[in-house]
């Protein structure tokens, strides 16, 4: 099984949108490598012909009648927003400056 290098850990942190300090990354990378080595034990099980289980009980899609019902007001939905303006969530710019 492949191990997790520091560079790979840095890549994973970027993919997961986690801004980590260099010492934090050093620390986590070593631990992740150890955990990845442990969980790789699942490969010892011969399971080629075994179907995967994503859910312990059989689940089917659940529908409800297509009827309007009460939902959160805009005010309630915005109440916990870090910033709101004109009845909307206010967010930082979503495009890079160079674009």
């Amino acid at each position: 099984m492949p191990s997790i290098s520091r560079d790979e850990a840095a890549h994973l942190a970027r993919l997961a949108r986690l801004d980590l300090a260099p010492d934090e990354l050093d620390h986590l990378a070593g631990q992740l490598d150890a955990i990845a080595g442990y969980v790789a034990r699942v490969s010892e099980v011969a399971a080629d012909d075994i179907p995967p289980t994503s859910h312990s009980l059989p689940v089917t899609n659940v529908f409800r009648p297509d009827e309007p019902r009460a939902c959160l007001t805009a005010e309630a939905a915005l109440a916990a927003a870090p910033e709101a303006e004109d009845g909307r969530f206010r967010v930082p710019r979503i495009l890079d400056e160079e674009v």
Partner: protein, 505 residues
């Protein structure tokens, strides 16, 4: 009358219903106890004294009007801080949700309120219910009332510690890999993980959606059963909720209390013992198995060969689900936003916020899940883990063809010292060795007190596993064991816990 905080929930509800005491008196007694001991225990992240007194007054008014009250009306409860509550913050033990006031109540919260149960406050937990010690809480660890230098289990350590220190007679936990059962074991209390889908997850902030399940925590088996019936049952707001009648858990607890287990077939899981298990835990477990035989059960050994792979499979499946579930904390709609200085992009703000808002364990699991789900590794990790999950469910299926319930220790050791495993994730994960298989297979399981380990005088739990929707069997076994041990010990296990020093401020 007797100290209200030492009474069980069934007795408190009866005393409220008869007018012997009032819900307000009961609630005040518990709020006073919280003031006296929670500085040392730190079970609660938030106490809502005014809200609790208000809820208790409403119960008393209903009683005076002659209304029929539910079986737990007027009884206080400690709610794990991972359920949404409109009148209290919901933090999930995370800085990223510090101070968040949800705009809706979880179904569990709503059902508690409708039953007249008095919610005292929100209890501490490992961040987003990830951990076995509550040390991963951003707001500091909870201390085990048996020994304040030790962990109360996790993730629901606040709930278990609140019960063991008489701050509440009832609590709610959630169990993704053992977070109800392991805290119950190490604090000498009762904790039940219902069948997956037995209780609603609506408003339960998700850790791993295919594994999470809310359940009752109490000091007695009957109290847990009464609470189970309040919170369980179909909920159209949760698409994985089972649309079937709730198993008759209260009737089973009452039946079990007669101490007769004849006709019950019990399987001892061969793989859950031996190396890595504390001697005192194994000794108490063997005694409990003997007791089951004395009570009339037929005891056999059962092999579940794939349980050994439960822990590694779990630490692929869980982080995978965590990494997608925690993606919602993006600093845009609610929760923390950090680093928004007007020049940074949304993506930069998102990364800075998540880096500042999540603790080490959340970061480890998010990154591990991101790794397990990445192309190239997906089949070898996540795909293979899902196949192991099938094999574990088949092991259960075969075992339950031969026996009615399976038993094991709840966790390999007694409560370990705070700090001992906090930076050794693999050692921490071992605490859930015995409890994880039931999360992967979705069946019901519970932990009941079965004595103190000789080497440290700390509580040991008996773990009982039952098939899907056979939750009632847990309560029959638990109640039988509880009454037999109480006779042997001359009282409940918790009566042997040291008295906490009471703050006089």
């Amino acid at each position: 009358m007797a100290d209200l905080t030492r009474m069980d929930a069934a007795a408190l509800a009866a005393a409220v219903a008869s007018g012997e005491t009032s819900a307000v008196e009961v609630t005040r007694a518990h709020l006073d106890r919280i003031s006296a001991v929670d500085t040392a225990v730190h079970a609660f992240l938030h106490v809502d004294a005014d809200g609790a007194i208000g809820a208790a007054e409403a119960v008393d008014v209903r009683r005076r009007r002659g209304e029929t009250l539910g079986p737990l009306a007027g009884v206080p409860l400690a709610l794990k801080d991972v359920f949404t509550t409109t009148d209290m913050p919901t933090t999930c033990g995370s800085k990223i949700l510090e101070g968040w006031r949800p705009p809706y109540d979880a179904t569990v919260t709503r059902r508690l309120r409708e039953a007249g149960i008095v919610i005292l406050g929100k209890t501490n937990l490992d961040e987003f219910a990830m951990g076995s010690s509550t040390e991963n809480s951003a707001f500091g660890p909870t201390h085990n009332p048996w020994d304040l230098d030790r962990i109360p289990g996790g993730s629901g350590g606040g709930s278990s510690a609140s019960l063991a220190s008489y701050q509440a007679p009832l609590a709610i936990g959630t169990d993704t890999g053992g977070s109800i059962r392991q805290p119950a074991a190490v604090t000498g209390t009762v904790g039940v993980k219902p069948t997956y889908g037995g209780t609603s997850r609506y408003g339960l902030v998700a850790c791993a959606s295919s594994l999470d399940q809310a359940g009752p925590c109490a000091r007695t088996v009957l109290d847990a059963a009464l609470l189970h019936e309040v919170i369980a049952g179909h909920d159209p707001m949760d698409s994985t909720s089972i649309d079937e009648p709730v198993p008759a858990v209260v009737a089973a607890a009452r039946r079990g209390a007669d101490g007769d287990l004849s006709g019950l077939r019990v399987g001892v899981v061969k793989e859950l013992g031996g190396e890595g298990y504390q001697a005192g835990v194994e000794a108490r477990f063997r005694e409990a198995v003997e007791l089951l035989g004395d009570l009339g059960a037929e005891v056999v050994e059962v092999s579940c060969p794939h349980f050994t792979y439960g822990l590694p499979a779990y630490y692929l499946i869980l982080p995978s689900e965590v990494s997608s579930n925690l993606a919602r904390f993006d600093a845009m709609r609610y929760g923390l936003r950090a680093g928004d200085d007007g020049t940074r992009s949304a993506e930069e703000v998102m990364s800075i916020t998540r880096g500042a808002g999540f603790g080490a364990e959340a970061k480890r699991r998010i990154m591990l899940g991101t790794y397990a789900l990445s192309s190239g590794y997906y089949d070898a990790y996540y795909g293979q883990a899902q196949k192991v999950r099938t094999l574990i469910a088949r092991d259960f299926g075969r075992a339950f063809g031969a026996v009615d319930v399976l038993v094991s220790p709840t966790t390999p050791t007694t409560a370990f010292p705070i700090g001992e495993r906090v930076d050794d994730p693999l050692a921490m994960y071992m605490a859930d060795l015995c409890t994880i298989p039931s999360n992967l297979a979705g069946n019901a399981a519970a932990s009941f007190p079965c004595g103190l380990a000789d080497e440290d005088d700390l509580p040991v739990g008996l773990h009982v596993m039952a098939p899907v929707l056979a939750d009632d069997r847990l309560y029959r076994v638990g109640a039988a064991v509880e009454q037999a041990f109480a006779q042997r010990w001359g009282g409940p296990l918790l009566s042997r816990a040291p008295e906490l020093e009471v703050a006089l401020s």
